[in-house]
Amino acid sequence: MTTEEAEVEPRIGVYVCHCGLNIAGTVDCEEVAEFASTLPNVVVAEDTRYACSDQGQETIKKDIKEHNLNRVVVASCSPRLHEPTFRKTCEEAGLNKYLFEMANIREHCSWVHLHDKKAATEKAKDLVRAAVAKVTLLEPAIESEVPITTSALIIGGGVAGIQAALDLADTGYKVYLVEKEPSIGGRMAQIDKTFPTMDCSICILAPKMSDVGHHPNVELLTNSEVQEVKGYIGNFKVKVLKKPRYVTDECSACNECSEVCPITAPNEFDVGLATRRAIYTPFAQAVPSTYIVDRDLCLNKEGIMACDKCIRACEREAIDFDMKPETLELEVGTIIVATGADVYDPSSLPNYGYTRYLNVITSLEFERLINAGGPSGGNLIRPSDKKIPESVAFIQCVGSRTDKGNQYCSNVCCMNTIKDSLLIKEHWPDVKIYVFYVDIRAFGKGFEDLYKRAKEEGAIFIRGLPAEVIEDRKTRNLWLIGENTLQKELYRVNVGMVVLSIGIEPRPGSDVIQRLFTLSRTPDGFFMEAHPKLRPVDTPTGGIFLAGCAESPKDIKDSVTQASAAAARAGILMAQGKVTVEAITPRPIPENCEFCGLCARVCPYNAILVDKERERVEVIEAACTGCGTCGAECSFDALHMRHFTNTQILAQIDALTETEADKKIIAFCCNWCAYAGADFAGVSRMQYPPNVRIIRTMCSGRVSPKFVEHAFSRGAGAVLVAGCHPGDCHYIDANLQTQKRVEKLWKKMERLGVDKERLQLLWASAAEGERVASKIREMQAKLDKLAPEEIEKAKGVFAGS
């Protein structure tokens, strides 16, 4: 039946969206609509203020019925944003959603050519022409469904991970919570009180921790790390390395072993302010409570038991030095990344003297000091003489909002300092408190009141960070010297102790996580959401979500909120129980097939079976993710890459090179990185030359050499192939094929005496809009110098391809 539908004469409706002034401000939408109406098979062509609005959608539906349209094009924003919306519109009007195509005239046009209305409009026309060309050749398709494994993996056992785990587990889903430290709890466990309510942090966290520990639906994997992630939304296969604790579940946390252990070390949990043993538990409320042996410290090395004090002390015989690491293979449907963040290391700011002056501490050290369960039993003592200081100074924005550290605001430091100043005042009203700040950011619910209270309690807020902190050799007191930027005068303050309000930064291991889950990161290094407004906890990779500081610095409340949101998003998927696989998988065309097996060889998912003897070729639907690199590899047109067919893409090229080909850059961008990068450039209003024409493929691996050659044979000035960075490919390593093919083409161009500079390869992540923009600028510059003969030559040598 699909073929029948395909055979009926195409009747196309084109809708050019103003998006308020977002598009119309730059592009002459009426003119574009006008132009569209002249294109073959276009029955209706109108411009509309907001295509995505109900009204806009209604119009489309109405037209489909009245003019019995069998194809629809919407020229508006990025398909990554609204394609789903309009596909739904079509379906509601009884039109198969695969007969819809978008022209991205906002992110890729109006926003990036703000100052060249004419060129922008021309570009918009081209993009519409290409869309129409493609939509004409589109075929209806029925999506196949894949079941979703109803279990979730959560990476990171901080408060975000804990919350997400509880929410999902309570909903009834199996949850694997992976934490690389010996205990869950994260940073919240280290903090004394929470702002603005001044709750005891561990008191409100501990119950949640033990809930997770005992929840029948939660499998807690501490001291463990994710090693490998395979599969796709709803069907991930995850390898987790469970490192040995050397203490079995028999452990009753009686501490006997720790007491006899002769080896001591600074306890990480107390930021080194307290001592632990080689066999220990990080803190009293740790979950699991099972102890752990630090084998780097322990005297027993290389299988030789030098010391067996703990073993003999343990009545339950819970200590086993022969535990081996084990690799667990988990099958999960959804994944939540809650890997948290790290703190800024102020020792890289010599002017504050951290690590040189004993009485300069970080806000994290402060939390442990002020904590009743901490090393000083809650006494605010200064390390040098263990006395309570008469005055304390807080220095804000240490490592935040500065070229010396991180550019961004760490979000929590202001409130944390305000909270800390109140804590001091509460216990030791006479202690003088100075807060040196740049701005005080007390934007959240109840924050401003807290700020007021701090001031009322007598904390002195001085705008302007000290330029330098100097220690008084005798008293070990500290001089803070800087400028009060409000009173425009220099200050010189002497205090007993300085607290550096250190910022939050991405975990060092983030790049590993990024690769494992094929995520993107912002220039700050935090993980990037699928859409900053509409999909704030999704990642570009289906089935993977974000929560907590891994996504950006945030306080406990926001982390928990985001965690619940992520849990809900994951829950929705699993509740549906199935995902529909986009109908973009290849269909073999046996009559063309030579059964050479090349397609099978390049498939990253081994989703193609080729049987040379019995002359059979088969595509495994469930395993295939539609990257299309097989289609690009096939030189016999034996693979019909649904929705991205050779004919469709060639038609797009033809459309885009119909006029002034020689002035144009034809760009093939992969959906996940390069295309998204270009979108990001648009969102960020980065300006670049208007001559580029972007064709979207799912993966750069789809770009068949013949597309490039065809573009040149059509006289295109230049061609850009852009995809994800190697290792970040959303189809494992399909983009390695891209590289091979482009390199082959370069050789060929050299051989044929064509300027190989005209073909460019770009790796750009979804966050690297600027990278895309500057590449286009650079290519434009080359293009301007290009001689017409060169264009002709290429036309000639590639003619017929």
């Binding site: 290389e302 299988g303 030789i304 038991m305 030098a306 067996d308 003999r312 022969d322």
Partner: protein
């Protein structure tokens, strides 16, 4: 003060016939380490020293029996296990431990070993394996590695050695472990475990022979041999005994067998009880 007196200060002194210290063993010989682990095991288990018998055969380690301050017997070459069998069966209240060498237990005494294991006689056999006949000056034995140099393999050993762990397991031992003399604590724990377990236990102790075998085979000083043990030994509990053969680059150590099987003594006593009850009944009629 003389050495005997000084011995008595040592925490293990009460388990030793201190007056016979220092022992006859060479510098760096593993036998002393084995003995000390054994005594530590007795100490930690608080064993009733009146109820334990140590039996040894011939060879360097054979002298161990003479040093332990318990009932002990130094038998003829290879016969320790047979003698121990008699002791254990005749007085089941005694804990009988055989401490002997690879040559004594597995060449001349091999037959007694496999049969005692098969019968599951409730005795504990600890074997010091130094890969040669040390006391007679370093001749090759049943555990000497292929190609090794000994005084009777001047052109290199052409015999294949026994894998004692495999042999013991195949013969029916209910507990089989192997450690080197560097794994003292684990060795001690294995000894403790075997002492608390009913049935035929076998513990192989890979032991340096610095004066003879290791010197002949250029393995260096005792310390170097011990370091080599550390380098190539690999703890694999529960590993298939058939695959634990010792090679030049790996000594697999650990507990390989730990199963429950009624001992000969238990079965004998049960049978006796049955028979005697039957006789009583018959008499009653």
């Amino acid at each position: 003060m003389n050495q005997g007196d000084r011995m008595t200060q040592h925490p293990l002194a009460k388990y030793l016939r201190s007056e016979r210290m220092p022992h006859i063993w060479c510098e760096g010989c593993g036998n002393g380490v084995l003995l000390s682990s054994f005594l530590t095991a007795l100490d930690e288990l608080k064993v009733d020293l009146d109820k334990i018998v140590v039996v040894s055969g011939i060879g360097c380690i054979g002298r161990a029996a003479g040093y332990v301050n318990v009932d002990s017997f130094h038998t003829t070459h290879g016969r320790a296990i047979a003698f121990a069998t008699g002791v254990k069966l005749a007085n089941p209240d005694l804990q009988v431990v055989v401490i002997s060498g690879d040559g004594d237990l597995f060449a001349i005494g091999g037959n007694h070993f496999i049969h005692a294991a098969r019968r599951n006689i409730d005795i504990k056999v600890i074997c010091a394996n130094n890969f040669n006949y040390g006391m007679t000056g370093g001749q090759y034995g049943p555990t000497t590695p292929l190609e090794a140099w000994t005084t009777t393999t001047p052109y290199g050993n052409i015999e294949h050695p026994f894998n004692l762990v495999h042999l013991a397991a195949a013969s029916g031992a209910v507990y089989v472990a192997r450690w080197t003399t560097l794994h003292v604590r684990r060795l001690k724990d294995s000894i403790k475990k075997s002492l608390q377990k009913e049935g035929f236990s076998f513990i192989e102790v890979i032991s340096p022979c610095p004066t003879i075998f290791d010197r002949y085979n250029k393995r260096g000083t005792a310390v170097e041999v011990m370091k080599w043990f550390r380098l190539i030994s690999n703890v694999k509990h529960g590993y298939d005994p058939a695959r634990t053969e010792i090679t030049n680059n790996q000594i697999i150590v650990g507990e390989f067998v730990d199963v429950e099987r009624p001992s000969y003594g238990r079965l004998l006593r049960e049978m006796t009880k049955r028979v005697q009850e039957k006789l009583k009944e018959e008499k009653a009629k």
